[in-house]
Subunit: 277 residues, 2 copies
Amino acid sequence: MKVITTLPELRNARTALPEPVGFVPTMGYLHAGHISLINAAKAGCTSVVASIFVNPTQFGPNEDLAEYPRDLPRDLSVLEAAGVDLVWTPTPECMYPPGFQTWVEVQGLTNGLEGKIRPGHFRGVTTIVAKLFNAVRPDRAYFGQKDAQQAVVIRRMTRDLDFPIEIVVCPTTREPDGLAMSSRNSYLIPGERNVATVIFRALTEAKNAYESGQREADILRRIMRDVVNAEPLVRLQYVSCADYDTLEELNTVNTKALLSMAVYVGKTRLIDNFVIG
Amino acid sequence: MKVITTLPELRNARTALPEPVGFVPTMGYLHAGHISLINAAKAGCTSVVASIFVNPTQFGPNEDLAEYPRDLPRDLSVLEAAGVDLVWTPTPECMYPPGFQTWVEVQGLTNGLEGKIRPGHFRGVTTIVAKLFNAVRPDRAYFGQKDAQQAVVIRRMTRDLDFPIEIVVCPTTREPDGLAMSSRNSYLIPGERNVATVIFRALTEAKNAYESGQREADILRRIMRDVVNAEPLVRLQYVSCADYDTLEELNTVNTKALLSMAVYVGKTRLIDNFVIG
């Protein structure tokens, strides 16, 4: 496995990779969710490239950029064991040199949900993903359904800007008790870790109601809200029942829909979602 | 010469082109300036791709999108005679399908000059050029110095987004009397065509003053303004003496600088520039 930190080296190493090339962009501190993306890339592609870069431009001024967990040696051994061919670990100075001033922005789809709570977040995401796409030039790129809005936004960007890249969205990987895998789970202290399952329980209750015939989005949102609010250590930030393609809030669920929420467990912000319909 | 109108056909045809591939994006109605770009691409690359697309998103609501001159049959025969291998002529519906909502924007560099007069213009330019780059995947792309700010902005976008593409800027091609070649020159009626040379004369006077030792940017700007204002059929929109790299207005010229201006000759808006220093 090659570990590469400069763009000219990356361009050289990329040329030598047998195609098709699969790409898994990450912010490191890898968990089973990332590995499932690597495995999907290995199953579908001849070569697999992963990147590790904690992208500063997708963090807001009051967010957890400085504390974001990092462990490069462990990440590299995990990627090597998973059979990755090439790891791209650029520095922030390489990605955002002095004078950097170009941004890629998806409108519309970024107005609600995470985009509303985290202004500028998706501009940072789409800009860095465009840069990574141009640096790595994959044939396919793999993202997790856990970041549902991100997946929709990146698919839109890829199509709108004519990147010749197939976006593959893989199912959310969960702990045995249902908690979605996330690097941010490492922030949770033991008491918080136990109550964090309320997210999965709330989504499950709403999904069960849908499967029992409930089509009123307000009622599905209320079910999730009530389950979360019954847990005193957890603070709900938003719940949503939105159209899966447009991400607009629904009145009635008669198409594919996204149940999603963001909560604070102590000081840790967690998101999760289910797709229904 | 292949003429291609759909993206899947373009991707196929591109794969078959021997590399390096040179690319000349145009809005059609080709003149000797475009041909000089094609010739530079042919001299430097094994294959040459040109595109013809009058990009609606770089025109403001009160600009000349509808009247912009078009003559595809003539353009195609000109490109064939120039030895172009492949012409990409997408439709507006192909480039901006329903739901399109992604924009590429360069900040800073687009604040002054054309960017100030034409809000949104460069956002349209950088978005379409990013799309064309992803569609055509050239090794080198050729732009004219005539659109000086565009060249600086595209070079910045290419670097910032890590496009593996070399940007080549070619000298402005001029009529024998000095008027810069432009598709918009076709708007000029005979009396206007004669007085349009005032732009070249104003730039030349300022350049001569610089070469005689004048370093005060205010004086160089005043020289250009005075020459243009002496021509009653011409209305000056702006004159500029700016840093060549940052495009910020200068007080004193002690580095590479851009003398530029925009004028109206009748209803026709024309721009031109000289590089000094």
